[in-house]
Structure formats: C-alpha cells, structure tokens
C-alpha cells in the first residue's frame, strides 16, 4: 500500500491529478462492476513554483480532429524528425524551428506551460454595490473598497455601479464633475438597450443599424471602465461620498433593492465593451433583492424569505422565476468569459439559492458573512487579491479546459465551476455525467485550488485484448489569461496501465484512491441533490457503498462479523457516513442559502480541502503526548484534552471539562504552570496557521465543555454514545450526545449485514 500511496501523492504534486483507480479495468463491463467510475480530480492551475513558462507555443498533432499536444508519451524519431501522436497514432513531421528545445522539454515534463496566443488585454474589475445598508456596514464596505484599489493589479480597469431602489452607473472621468447614469430598478432592459442608454453604441448611426463601437476605442470605454492608476484618487473620493440609498424605508418593510437590474446592467456593460477578456463583476449586497426582475422576496417584512419548508411545500413564490433570471445572466456572462463574485453580508438570507449560478457557472466567489464590518468579510475580500511566492496574483481568467483521451476511454462529463463549450468530438460518451456532451469547458475565473471532477467511461468490449502498449492516456489542455494579462497554455498528460479485472482484481483494488473516490462520488451526490429529492440521493449513495463493499469486502456469506476491507478501502465507508450527515446532503439545520454556500465551495475545492468538508479533521492536545489525530467520535471528547476541529468553514477549539476549569482558575498566568499555558496556546497556533491562508476565511470558535458553541463539535462527531445507548455501551469515557442520529457503529453494522447477505 505504501507504494501506491507514494505514487498517488507524487502524481498529485506533479500534475494536480488524482484518479479514483490507478490501474484501469480494460473493459466496459468490468469498469461498471467496480462501482466507482474511472474518474479524476484535476486542478488545472496547481501551484508549481518549479515550472517556468516556456516562451513558445505548443506543438500540435496535425490531424484535424485530434490536435493533441506533443507530450512524454509520444514516440519521437529525432533523425527522421517525426513524432507519433500517442492518441491518434498520426505521424507528424517537424514543424517549428524550436523543435529540439521544445521536444526535449516536453519529453521530461508531464505538466508544462506554454505561451498562448492573443493580445494581453487588461483585466477588469466592476464593483456593483448595494447602498441599502446600515450606516456602520456601509462605512466598513466603503473602506474595504477604497483599500482594494491599492490591491488591484496596477493596469486593471475598474468600474462602479451602485444600486438601491435605482441603479446608478458612475462615469469615472479623470476630472470635473462626477456624472452617473440612472436606471429604474424595475424595468428590464435588453443588452442592446443598456448599451445604447449608456452611449456605448456609435452615436453617428441611428435606428436599428447602430452597432456597438470597437472595444479598443478608448473614447467610448474610458467613461465607465477606466485604468485604476488614473482614477484611483477620484474613485476613492467617490466611494467615500457614497450615501445610503435615500429612499426612506417605512416601518415593517424591507428596503427596495434592485439587484437583478444592477447585475443585468453590469453584464450588459461588459458584454458591450469587453467581450472575451478577463473581467470580474464583484457584487456586494446586504440583503435580498426585493424589487424588479430577480426579486427573491417582497418588501413586506412579515413575509419571510423562503425556507426549505416553503420550498418543499411549493410555497416559494419567486424562486423559479428568480432562478431562471439569474441563470440567464450567468450564462451570458460565462459566454463572454466574465466571472461574477457575490459578497453577501446580512443576518438573514440574501437569495444565494437563486443567485448561486452566477458564481457557480462563472467560477466567481461567494462569500457569506453577517456584516461588512467583520474580519470574516474584510479578510476574505483581501484574499481575493492574494499573491503567490513570485508576487503574482493567484487569480486567473478566461480559462478553457480541453480533455483528450486514448480511444479506449470516452469523456462523460465534468462537475465543477464550469460551463460546457459544446465541443463535439470522437471522445464523448453518450452517458452524461455532470456537464457532459462535450470535451471542452469554460472556467471564466480560476485559482490555484480550482478543481474539476472529470468522469470517464471505458469503452473496450469485454474480453477484448488489452490495448497495445498496455497504457491508457489522458491529456488536459488549459488555456487561460494570467493575472499579468498574458495568455498561457498548460498541458498535463498522464497515463495509467490497463489491467484485466478478472485476473488482476487485487492489483486494481490496491490502486484504489479512497480519498479521491470519496470526493468524486460526493460531487456526484451533490450534483444529483440539485435536481433530485434528498432521500433519493442518500439511497443512491448507500447503494453504491453497499455494492462496493460487496465487490471488495472479504467475508463469509451471511456472516457480518467476518466482514473486512483492505487498507486501500478502510476509510471509504467512514467518508460516506460523514458525507450522509454533512450539510451538502442534509438540508435540515441549514437554510437554503447556507446549503448553496456550502455546496458552492464543495464542488470547486481541491482534494484535501474537500475531504475536510466531508469529514472534519480532529486533533487532540494534551499533556500525554504530542498533538495527534483522533476519531471524529464522541469518545474523543475527554475532560483533560483540548480538541481542534477543522470543518473548513469553521475552526473549533474545544476545551475539555478539566481544562476549562483550570483555565477559569487562571493557572496559565502562574509561572510554575507555564506548561499549561503552552498547552492552551498550541491549538490556537495551529488554528492560526490555517486561518492565515484559507479562502474563504472560516469562523473561529473557542468553546468548552458545557458551552453553547460546543454544539459545533457535538453535531459533527460520530454519536457513538447517545442518551439511548449510554449505559449499554460499556465504555465510561467520552461525552454522550443527545441525538437520534445513527452512529458509525450502527451504520457499519447495517452495511456489513447488507454486504454479506446473499439476498441483496
């Protein structure tokens, strides 16, 4: 097992790829019997400090419907100056003067970055700001926006739209009086109408013949989207002078927020001036849209915003219409390569359920907080502009991912923050999974942690011989705009051996990556949960788990106690257990907005972070040894321990009963109990290391035995001891949990019974 674990880790470090199986079953039938499909998690822009970009364009296969990039798996004949494509076997003559250098490099790097084509267009940041905020919040938001002007890339273009009852598009002229164009918040306008009203179309032409002016024409575009280095002073003043929406809000009413129109104008403005350039719409809102298209709730406070109960009872009046409206906007933005961020800070829901596609389809961020005057918002926002070790921005724009595979594999689809480019080709499977029917996807905004799950189908017939060469290959080609505005192309080519499942099933089993598979299956589950009923998704998940255990468990028929799983699968059932209880699949206890928020982050994070979300990490600190990982179980909650739990969205430090008493008594202040002080500080330091870099910023909970906030820990741990079984359990350690949730032991017992049963 150690060898496979090392192999898996090396591959992830080098190529950003983790496959569910690292030995591939050579027939379609055998592949379906493995339950977990041949699939992978792929991080296109994984941070690779050792990988300087090559200043040449990649060498492509000349076959029209192939065009794979030269890679280490290709046979190269240096004397004859020919290379053979490993995907289509086409023999390609040398075509570029840089052949020798390029082919040498390509031979050694499974992941390599090339120069891309296209002009270095400037990046664009368009702020869309809700002014229906409390004074304190508005002040904090204004300051954050002023601060961000210092964090933007220096040559970026910046724009400002503010909204409340009306929507104002601000002209950022370099001098003179500030002007703005005002739109009614209720009237839906087409993209063309918006561009006309903003004067973005050619003024000389009239009537239906008007065409939008060329995007490079500075005279037209300088008014609303200007270089930050030119307008920073004026924009700082403009932001400083922003007032709360002047329309008075009567008692018992919500402010009238025209979020839908504001976004429509933002998308239309960018569409008309800078299509196909990296751009970020950053929307800041302090409450739900209450007016115009895309409204999520009316302005009467006595009508609360929809809950899960309302949705299941089909009592959410605005849900379908609003979702459709934002979906259309999201697709328009995605087509143009523009991403939309949502920064929602309010104590109640703001409509993330309806608006989530704006970010999910474009790769934009969603940040959810209580107020703009919190560290959670301020630091999350700051981290959007974080830089890597080279001092370059981590954010990237205008990404497209193309996947090529050996002829024995077809591409079923992808799940992640992307849209389909509807690229037809020979590699496409008829069985669609996630965003399918294509081998190319668009990811308008990327970061080094953006990760897609890609699903494949083995198409070889049963009993067909193993393909010549013994290996299948997949190539990922990611084109994107770097934050320094240059276009780049990153190519990753990986291969895995084929294996005959009938004779080599144990080898295939030992190549199983249970961590990657858990995340891959979880993404499938979350994808299904968007359109299916919750219980159906759980049933599906359970069925897959049972089938997997039946296939790979070692047991005697009908004897549950004999059931064992090998090490390569030993963590998998636990992952599934926690996934079933997670906020991604359990909507009870979380609002629709919260679920949308959690799912948004889940389907885009890399493997390590995704696993943390499925099954939180729990470390124990005590006098009895160095910090150690412990079972996410109520039995790990002990009086003389401090626990640090990381759920990705929260960091919880829980002090056991005795520790809490000591802390309260103040022993840490006394010099002779300095070791106790160190013990208290240890989990805080480890938590801080996570807090310093994680995006988005998690909540931080310092609690103790009996504290009300301890519920964050208690609700996550496996309730092996509940009020139902406390005295029958036999153990006297651990804290009982008041719940009727089934425990891991009960779950495992049921699982084992079902797996070994000849009836199932």
């Amino acid at each position: 097992m150690a060898t496979y674990q090392e192999f898996i880790q090396q591959n992830e470090d080098r190529d950003g790829v983790r496959f569910s199986w690292n030995l591939w079953p050579s027939s379609r039938l055998e592949a379906t019997r493995l339950v977990v499909p041949v699939s992978c998690l792929f991080t296109p822009l994984k941070e690779r400090p050792d990988l300087p970009p090559v200043q040449y364009e990649p060498v492509l296969c000349s076959r029209a419907n192939c065009k794979a990039v030269l890679n280490p798996l290709c046979q190269v004949d240096y004397r004859a100056k020919i290379w053979a494509c490993n995907f289509c076997f086409q023999r390609n003559p040398v075509s570029t003067p840089q052949w020798t250098i390029l082919s040498c490099m390509t031979k050694h790097y499974s992941t390599i970055e090339y120069r891309g084509r296209g002009p270095p267009n400037p990046l664009i940041f368009l702020y869309v700001v809700d002014t229906c905020l409390e004074e304190e919040d508005l002040q904090a938001l204004k300051e954050s926006l002023q601060m961000s002007l210092s964090l933007l890339p220096p040559n970026a273009l910046v724009g400002l739209i503010t909204f409340g009852r009306m929507v104002q598009v601000h002209e950022l002229s370099c001098e003179g009086i500030a002007k703005s164009y005002v739109f009614r918040g209720t009237k839906e306008l087409s993209s063309k109408q918006i561009q006309e009203m903003l004067g973005l179309t050619n003024p000389a032409a009239s009537g239906p013949q008007s065409r939008p002016a060329a995007p490079q024409d500075p005279a037209v575009t300088c008014r609303f989207l200007q270089p930050v280095h030119k307008v920073d002073m004026n924009l700082t003043d403009l932001l400083g002078e922003l007032q709360r929406d002047p329309w008075p809000v009567p008692q018992g009413k919500r402010p009238l927020r025209s979020t839908g129109i504001a976004l429509s104008i933002a998308v239309g403005l960018l569409e008309g001036t800078f299509p196909n350039t990296g751009a970020r719409v950053m929307m800041f809102m302090g409450g739900p849209p209450t007016q115009g298209p895309g409204m999520v709730v009316g302005d009467e406070l006595k009508t609360p915003i929809r809950s899960w109960h309302d949705i299941t009872k089909d009592n959410a009046r605005h849900l379908k219409k609003a979702t459709k409206y934002y979906d259309a906007l999201a697709n328009r933005a995605a087509v143009n390569g523009h991403s939309i961020d949502i920064y929602a800070c309010a104590l109640d829901q703001t409509g993330l359920l309806e608006m989530k596609c704006l970010s999910n389809l474009t790769g934009g961020h969603i940040a959810m907080g209580d107020s703009f005057n919190t560290s959670l918002f301020k630091q999350t926002f700051q981290r959007v502009f974080s830089k890597d070790h080279n001092g370059e921005f981590r954010m990237a724009f205008g990404g497209t991912l193309e996947v090529k595979a050996s002829r024995e594999l077809k591409v079923s689809g992808a799940i992640g923050p992307c849209v389909s480019l509807n690229a037809k080709g020979p590699c496409i499977s008829e069985n669609e999974v996630g965003v399918g029917g294509t081998t190319q996807w668009k990811i308008c905004s990327l970061s080094p942690s953006t990760t897609l799950a890609l699903y494949f189908e083995v198409v070889n017939q049963h009993n067909a011989p193993i393909p010549q060469g013994g290996r299948g290959a997949v190539q990922f080609v990611t084109q994107y705009q770097h934050s320094n505005t240059q276009r780049r192309i990153r190519v990753t080519t990986v291969a895995r051996n084929w294996a005959d499942a009938q004779s080599q099933i144990q080898h295939i089993e030992s190549s199983f990556d249970q961590e990657a598979s858990a995340v891959i299956m979880a993404r499938l589950g979350v994808f299904r949960a968007e359109s299916e009923e919750g219980p159906d998704v759980l049933r599906w998940l359970d069925r897959q788990l049972i089938r997997l255990c039946q296939k790979f468990g070692q047991f005697n028929k009908d004897d549950p106690t004999s059931f064992k799983l090998s090490e390569s699968l030993s963590l998998y059932p636990q992952f599934m257990f926690h996934l079933r209880r997670s906020p991604f699949l359990q909507v009870f206890n979380n609002s629709p907005d919260e679920c949308s928020y959690y799912r948004h982050h889940f389907v885009r994070q890399d493997l390590t972070q995704s696993l943390i979300m499925i099954q939180p990490i729990l470390y124990s600190y005590s006098f009895h040894g160095p910090p150690e990982p412990v079972l996410l179980d109520s039995g790990s909650i002990l009086p003389d321990r401090i626990l640090l739990m990381d759920t990705f969205f929260q960091l919880v430090i829980y002090h056991g009963e005795t520790i809490a008493q000591w802390r309260k008594a103040g022993y840490q202040e006394q010099p002779e109990y300095e070791n106790f002080k160190h013990l208290l500080v240890a989990p805080v330091d480890d938590a801080q290391e996570i807090l310093q870099t994680r995006f988005p910023m998690p909540r931080y909970i310092d609690t103790e035995h009996g504290g009300s906030q301890a519920r964050f820990l208690l609700s996550k741990v496996n309730p092996s001891q509940t009020h139902n079984n406390l005295y029958s359990w036999g153990q006297e350690t651990g804290a009982p949990i008041l719940t009727d949730d089934v425990s891991l032991q009960v779950f495992m017992d049921h699982l084992k019974k079902l797996a070994v049963s000849s009836a199932t």
């Binding site: 300051e143 954050s144 601060m147 210092s150 964090l151 220096p154 001098e175 280095h229 920073d232 002073m233 700082t236 005057n373 919190t374 560290s375 959670l376 630091q379 700051q382 974080s386 070790h389 064992k564 799983l565 030993s570 636990q574 390590t608 099954q615 990490i617 470390y619 600190y621 006098f623 009895h624 040894g625 160095p626 910090p627 412990v630 079972l631 039995g635 002990l638 003389d640 929260q650 005795t658 008493q661 000591w662 008594a665 002779e672 109990y673 300095e674 070791n675 013990l679 240890a682 330091d685 480890d686 801080q688 290391e689 807090l691 310093q692 870099t693 909540r699 931080y700 350690t733 495992m748």
Partner: protein, 246 residues
C-alpha cells in the same frame, strides 16, 4: 517589515458571531509562500474494519487526585513533589516536566496595543516626513498634469493636518516615516508595499489620503532620475536623525 507590524487582532464579535481574528498585512503576506509547519490532515480509521484494537484516546484514572504527566507516557502518573494547592479543582501538571506540546510559533505574534500618545525615542518628525513628500511632489510637477499634482497635494495636506491634530496612531506615523525613507532611496517597490500594508491595516485612519501617497509613488517612479537628483534636498534630512527605517 518590522516585528511590530506582524500582529493579530480579535475579530468583531459584536457584528459577527464567531468572527475570526484579523491578521495584519505583514502576517498574511508572510504566510503566502511559506510551507505549513504542521499540516493537520491525518485521520484515524475506525476499528471495526481493519480488525486492529480500538485506538481509544487513552484511559486514565480519575482526576480527583492531582497528577503529574509522566515523562514516559506508558508509565502510570506519579504523584506531585509539592503539596497540592488548596483549591476545589485539581491543579494542572507543574512545569519542569519535559514538554511535548507544539513548540512556539516562528512568527512574533504580539497582541497589538495602540497607543497614539506614547512617546518613544523613535517618534518620527512630521515636518521631515512632509518635506520629503513635498520634495517628490515638486519633482512631479514638471511632467505630471497639474490637476493630478493638486489632488495629491490636497491629500498630503490632509495627512499633515491629521498628524498634527493627533489623529494618526504611532504605527501609522512610524510606517509613513519608513515609507518616505524608501521613497528618498528610490526603493519604489518597498515604498509601495508599505503603502499597501498601511491601507490594509489602518484603512479607517489613512483611507482618505493614502491614495494620494500611492499616486505620488507611482508618478515619482516614472520620472527621469535626473529630475529627482536636481531637487534641493534639505541637508538635515540626509542624516536621518528622525529614527527608524527598516
């Protein structure tokens, strides 16, 4: 970046429940490229599947008697050398026993205490700072548009007024002094970095005028270097008697 500029403040618990602590700009940027000290990513498999004995997190005798953690973790706890303190709760183990907890962090994490009125020997002189800023601005006036220079001047004046009326805290004053020193030495990136750190860490104090300093740095770095050197620089500034730079 000085150690004083690497700090953590608590979050805003009034506005956000469980608001996380706020890290200074210096701490955040330092963490960007640094590898994790102790990545917390291990999990423990449940005992039912592998057949191995249940990894119970340790059974220990009741805690009614005071105990010292054993130096050998397998040994039973030994009694204390000193008599127990008279308190209702048993005391934690004494120091002097070999510690096995995580070592102290590498970053100088210091709770930031803001004392605008504290006078240290490093108190920068407002006139020196303003003079240097104006020196740069004057150099800019040759080539940079008048409106821009006036806008910058307006903000520099605001900065000066705020300083003189005691509205700027010591860290801001100190760091602005550092910034102008970098400006004088033509270390544009360093000056720019200080401006960024200041606006992130102290936006409420500097937000109105810092953009003027930002623009000043940006315009000055584009100037013909001869233009800068022909400016008369007050002799007294060369000896940097005003104290701390990096």
């Amino acid at each position: 970046m000085e150690a004083k500029d690497l700090y953590i403040k608590p979050g805003n618990q009034e506005r956000g429940w469980n608001d996380p602590p706020q890290f200074s700009y210096g701490l955040q940027t330092a963490a960007q490229g640094a590898p994790k000290r102790t990545p917390l990513n291990k999990r423990v498999p449940p005992p039912q599947l592998t057949g191995s004995p249940c990894p119970v997190p340790g059974d220990f005798p009741s805690l009614t008697a005071p105990m010292t953690p054993p130096t050998n973790p397998l040994a039973p706890p030994c009694s204390m050398n000193t008599p127990p303190r008279p308190c209702p709760v048993a005391a934690p183990p004494l120091a002097g026993v070999m510690m096995m907890a995580t070592p102290p962090p590498p970053f100088p994490v210091v709770e930031h205490t803001d004392s605008a009125s504290s006078q240290s020997e490093n108190e920068p002189d407002v006139d020196d700072v303003v003079t240097l800023l104006n020196w740069a601005l004057t150099a800019c006036r040759h080539t940079v548009k008048k409106q821009v220079c006036n806008d910058v001047a307006k903000r520099l004046k605001l900065f000066e007024d705020m300083w003189k009326s005691g509205k700027l805290s010591l860290p801001v004053r100190r760091r602005m002094n550092g910034l102008v020193q970098e400006l004088k030495s033509c270390n544009w990136d360093a000056a720019d970095e200080i401006h960024r750190a200041l606006i992130v860490d102290h936006v409420n104090e500097v937000g109105q005028w810092m953009v003027g300093v930002k623009r000043l740095i940006a315009e000055t770095r584009n100037l013909n270097p001869d233009l800068l050197h022909t400016q008369e620089v007050d002799q007294s500034l060369d000896t940097s008697s005003t104290g701390n730079s990096d």
